[in-house]
Every structure is written in C-alpha cells, then in structure tokens.
C-alpha cells in the first residue's frame, strides 16, 4: 500500500519509481487513497424537462480501482458463463451483460442497499453489484442447490431480498409496474429511499410502462425508470421498433436524462442526481446509452443484425473497462502490471467459483413442491386424507 500511496501522492512520479514498483510487485495494491480526483464525463448530459447535472465528477483512486475490479469481475463472469453454456452446463436462456457493466457498477456506487433495484432478465451483473456472490450466480445458472434461488429460478430469476434486489424477470416490461409498486411501498412506509426500475429499449414500447409511469407521476412516487438502451431489442434495431428512439423524452411530462452508459462516472453522477430528484419531485427517466457485445442471448450470434465492425468499433472506442483502465493509468493510480494482476486475480476467483459450483449438488426432488405456497393460516394443501381442519386466528 505504501507503493501505491507513493505513486498517487506524487503527481508525476518518474520512471524510476514505476520500475521499482513493478520490480517489487507482489501483492496487488488496491489503493485506499481518497484524495479527490476530478474527471470529466465523456459527453455532456442531455436532459428533458429538468436541469442538467454537471459534467465534472469527483472521484478518487480507491473508487476507480474498485470500479475497475468490479467491472473486470463482471466481464470475466459473463465470458465464463458463455463457455459454460457452450459446454451445456447452463441450459435454457442465458442473457449476457458484457459491455454494459458500467451501468450496474455506476448505479450501485450512487446508492445504498436501502434503495431498491429491479431489472429484467439480463441480471447477472446487477445481482453481483448488489452483493451477490459468484458461487450463487454460477450455482443458479447450473441449477444447483447453492444458487441464489435454490436452483429453481435460473438465469432470469436472480433475487436478493436482503439487499433489496428484486430480480430477475423474464417477461419483457412486466418488471416496471413491479418497480413502481416498490416505489409505492417506499413512499407508504416513508423509507426515504428510491427504486430503480431497469428495462431495455425493447421494453420501452410496452404499454404497461406508460401506465405505471402515469400512476407514479400522479402519486409522486420515488421511482427512477432506467432505460438500458443497447440499441437492439433482440434482433430489431431501435429505429425499427420505436418511432421516437429518444427514450428519455418519452415520459413526456416526466423529466428525463440521457447518459453515456459506457462511462461509469457519468452513470454514477446521473444516478445521484436522479435519486435526489426522485425523492423530491417524483419519477424521472434515465436513458443509458450502452452496448452489449454478445447477442441478445446465447442462441443469438449477434451478428446477423449488426456488423462485426460495429461491435469491434464500440469495443475499441467505448469499452467501459478500458476507459477506466486508461483513466487509472493516466492518473498513475496503478501500473499496467497491477491492473493485469487484478484481472488475473479476478479470473482465478471466477474459476474457483465455477469449480465450487460444479461440485454443488442439484436440488433434491422434494424441492419441487417447496415454496409454491408460504405457510400460514391453514394454507397447506392437503390431499384427500386430510385429517383435521384448522382455522386459528394468528
């Protein structure tokens, strides 16, 4: 840690120090330095019916290195999931989030665990950001007992109640009314917290979204609707699906903000702004301009409706992990080698989790019937031989 402090405190350390650090590098340093660093977001924000948050963001070495590590972890996890799927250890649907990590990480950095997040089926990384473990992810993907939903949910049904992560939903758009319901409950119980309801550019055309938005605006609910616009609704480009692809403006009377979703600091800034806004003024829409490298799901190659050049272009110019890497290197917060070591560590973590998950047993057959109903007030289903009738007041 002394090394990194040396590195960060002296603004432009000479090559000597750098070579010294690389020679001595044993443990990878996560800097605990919190001296503020000022960075500008890649592009300014554009807003609809509200004022624009500042383009200048305060951050520090610790935060940036945490961002890097988290995003690298998510990236590695998704790529590992890809291989597992091809090895037929993961079946059914698997929607991968690589390319969009900045949204999950930036959002988490702006809020607390008291705020709620609900999202659609591309939920692996959001689950990790909310505090889920890699073992839970891989075990659930492979349908094992240690999974976060005990193997009964699958890729599209990750939930973490204790950190207010409400999933994990397969039907496009159905999570948005749920999210507004979460916001309603927060208002009802006076929680002073907000709900982020995430959906995609495909779901932005669902009627229930506008219904829920209307009710949220009417009742002043602290709901923040976040459109993760990766420009493709499965195989349909946004301009072929939406007459008005300016999703942040489609709230009409609800203010909106357009954010570069590949820039984790911009996401963090926007979410902080949105949380403040929602607690005072009711709902707001955030449009995250982001991109997914994989296809819609594992059955979609992702190249029939877009060119490989486009994909590699985005990867070269806008990749969120690369952006942070460049930022860290340019501010000398860590060396190239240290970052590579972080990535190696992360890779090892992921591999360990996969190995552990593979050892985990599949759910017992009795689990088929558990959790269909919650017990309470005479609610168990008895067969034809039910021996007694129960009706006691709780």
């Amino acid at each position: 840690m002394a090394l990194s402090q040396l590195l960060s405190s002296s603004s432009r350390s000479g090559n000597r120090l750098k070579s010294l650090s690389s020679a001595i590098s044993l443990r990878h340093p996560i800097s605990t330095d919190t001296t503020p660093i000022t960075v500008e977001t890649s592009v300014p924000f554009t807003s609809h019916q509200c004022e624009v948050p500042s383009r200048t963001v305060q951050t520090n070495a610790k935060e940036l290195l945490t961002f890097f590590r988290d995003m690298a972890l998510m990236r590695r996890m998704e790529i590992a999931a890809d291989s597992l799927y091809k090895a037929k250890l993961i079946r059914g649907f698997c929607h991968l989030y690589d390319g969009q990590e900045a949204v999950a990480v930036g959002m988490e950095a702006a809020i607390t665990k008291k705020d709620s997040i609900i999202t659609a089926y591309r939920d692996h990384c959001t689950f990790i950001a909310r505090g889920g473990t890699l073992l839970e992810v891989f075990a659930e993907l492979m349908g094992r007992q240690a999974g976060c939903s005990r193997g009964k949910g699958g890729s599209m049904h990750f939930y973490k109640k204790d950190s207010n992560f409400y999933g994990g939903h397969g039907i496009v758009g159905a999570q948005v009314p749920l999210g507004c319901g979460l916001a309603f409950a927060q208002k009802y119980c006076k929680d002073e917290a907000v709900t982020f309801a995430l959906y995609g550019d495909g779901a932005a055309n669902q009627g229930q979204l506008f219904e829920a938005l209307n009710i949220s605006a009417l009742w002043d609910l602290p709901a923040i609707l976040v459109c993760e616009n990766n420009h493709y609704g499965m195989g349909t480009a946004e301009w072929r699906a939406a007459k008005s692809p300016a999703y942040y403006k489609r709230g009409d009377y609800v203010p909106g903000l357009k954010v570069d979703g590949m820039d984790v600091l911009a996401v963090k800034q926007a979410c902080t702004f949105a949380k403040e806004h929602a607690l005072k003024n009711g709902p707001i829409i955030l449009e995250m301009d982001t991109y997914r490298y994989h296809g819609h799901s594992m059955s979609d190659p992702g190249s029939t409706y877009r060119t490989r050049d486009e994909i590699t272009g985005v990867r070269q110019e806008r990749d969120p992990v690369e952006r942070i890497r460049k930022l860290i290197l340019s501010h000398d917060l860590a060396t190239e080698k240290e970052l590579k070591d972080t990535e190696k560590e992360v890779r090892k973590e992921v591999d360990d989790a996969i190995a552990q998950a593979k050892e985990n047993p599949v759910p017992d057959s009795s689990e088929l019937f558990t959790n269909v109903y919650a017990k309470g007030l005479g609610v168990e289903s008895f067969g034809a031989d039910r021996k007694e009738v129960r009706a006691t007041l709780p």
């Binding site: 939903h169 409950a185 927060q186 269909v372 919650a374 008895f382 031989d385």
Partner: protein, 408 residues
Amino acid sequence: MAAIFQGVGAAEALSSSPFNSFDSNKSIFSPRRSFSVRKGASFAVVRSDGTVNLNLKGRRAQQLISNAVATKADSAAASSSSKPGHELLLFEALQEGLEEEMDRDPHVCVMGEDVGHYGGSYKVTKGLAKKFGDLRVLDTPIAENSFTGMGIGAAMTGLRPVIEGMNMGFLLLAFNQISNNCGMLHYTSGGQFTIPIVIRGPGGVGRQLGAEHSQRLESYFQSIPGIQMVACSTPYNAKGLMKAAIRSENPVILFEHVLLYNLKERIPDEDYICNLEEAEMVRPGEHVTILTYSRMRYHVMQAAKTLVNKGYDPEVIDIRSLKPFDLYTIGNSVKKTHRVLIVEECMRTGGIGASLTAAITENFNDYLDAPIMCLSSQDVPTPYAGTLEEVTVVQPPQIVTAVEQLCQ
C-alpha cells in the same frame, strides 16, 4: 343492478323445515320467468309478484323472504334485537372485513378503480377513503396491468394490498402479472419473497350485462401455481374469507358475484375468519352430494326444496375453496352418498367443475355408484337478451332433473 335484493327486516317464519335455506328467489329470477326449460317434472313456480308456490306437504304457500341464511332457521320475526350478532348485506360484510383488517394492520391498503372517493362501484369500499386517507385507499387510473403489477411489487416488500378489479373480467388485462409475478415469485426466488396480496372483484353472470361483463375467471386462473382461489357466497363467509385472505401470506383471489351483493344475513359480532381451504356444509343429506359455489348455491338450495318434497335427501356442499379443493370434506361426503352432482357457473369446457370431476374421479372412484354429473353454463358468450341469458346458466329445474337421473 346493485339493489337486487330488498332487505326485508322482519323474517317471516319459515320455521319448521330445517333446510329452508334459500329464500331469496324473489329477486334472482325476474318475475316474468317462464321456465322454458321445464322437463315435465313439477317444480316451483315463481309468480309475478315474486311469491313461490311450493308443493309443500302440510305447509301453506309462503311469502318469500330475502334472508338467504344458509342453515339457520329464523324462528321469531320480531326479536332481532335480542339475537346475537348484527344483520347486514353481503357488500357491507365485505366492507366490515376490510375495515377491520385495515384497522388491525397498517400495511393493508386498497387499490382499484373508483374505490376511494367514489366509494367503490359496488360500495364495498364505501367510507374507507374518508377514514384511512388517500394513501391507503388508492384510486387508480384505468390501467389494470400496471396497478396489479404495482400491487404485487408492493407486496414483495411486505405491504398487503387488496386489489379490486371493478369486474373480474377486467383482470384479464393483468393476467401476465397475476400468473407470472403473483403466482410464481415465491417459487422462482427460492422462497425469498412472499406476495401477501388479495385480488378481488365481482364476476359471474349478472342481469343482462353482456358477454364481456359476465366472465367467470376462475376457470382461467385455476391452473396458476402458487395462488389460492376462494369464492364467497353469504355475508358470513364473505367477511370471514376476506379477513383470512388478507391475513394469508399467499396471494389469494377472492371471487365475489355481481348478483349476491345484497344478500342479508345475521353475522356474529366477534372477530372470526373462515378457513381458506375449507368447504361449507350447507345441508347435510344422504342420497346425493351436490357440490357448488357462489351464486349457484342458491339455485341448488331452491332445487333442494323441490327435491325434498319429492322425497330426496340431497347433501349440499358449498366448496368455497376453488384452489385447492377441500377434498377432505368432499371425500367424506362422497363416501357417504356415493353420487355426485356438480353445479357450477363456469363454462363446461375447462371450468372448475371439470377439474373437480377429475379430482373426485381420481381419488374416490371406488366410492361412486354412478358417473359424476356436472351441470355448467353453456360454452357461449353470455347473450344480452334476458331469456337467452337464463338459458346459459344452470337453473333449478335442471338440477332437480339431474338429481332424479342420478338417483335412479
């Protein structure tokens, strides 16, 4: 169509028969009833002034009373004040249950169209908005899909919303939310979230409401795993089931009936609930088990009067719990009588009767002396014309004929 039944305060003595249960015939059948479905047997004739001439041995033709008490015989007319409990209409019983639960638990809230300031389209939530405020009794816009979804989302955090569909048929718009989110979230989250929501509303065939407003959704919802369905039929069980549904940790769909809201009954003053999974024995008997629920209970009870006159002894069970079935009560009855007749308002195809027939056949086939008969509504959209509408649902004469056939 709200005021179907006029509550008659003083109960006329219909005393000696222990099963003079059903007497609200006067209004369920329109006075100009023609009984075009008569099958040659003698049956009750409803005259235009609403009185029923029953061929009762040793009893005079009596004025019908609208007191649709299931099993109790009202002995004296005037002593209503000295009797325990209080008298009210079914919608008032629902309101009482709802109000008591909202008093008891601040997490209970009501969401629906016109439930607040308007007081509810069937007056079930009348007065609640004034008492509990706008945050607990919420008027929603006409957006069933989203406000049902919002109720489910709120329930995930521990709130206990009561969602009202103004007519059950409108909940078809929220089918995705009810099926996928409401029913399945407890399972797909591995038990992390419970959805203690109540979804209620009036359904069933009313008085010439037209096809779209006469839906019986219990047949569509019955295969959704993870929900419970109950149907109320008397003020007593309406209040009890409402309270139990609110207190239950599971999502419960409470089916009310448009034509039963003005039934009057005396219910206990003290706090009580009805078991959500239990069937109600309306009239014990020996010869045949008649299983029914909701409005058809009253048609059955009317038919029962005729049957008794003819010497039959039907056992009438109001199954109340549509999912899961109370196979214990039903099974015991089947073991006793060996003949089963199901009378339901669902359509023949894929209705509650169809599932119940399958369940009884699977479990009690050895006890049956005859195949199960199931009388259901016709598989047609409910027509507007009154005469046609009558024919789509099961009428008491058909029930009488069916029992006679079954008991040959």
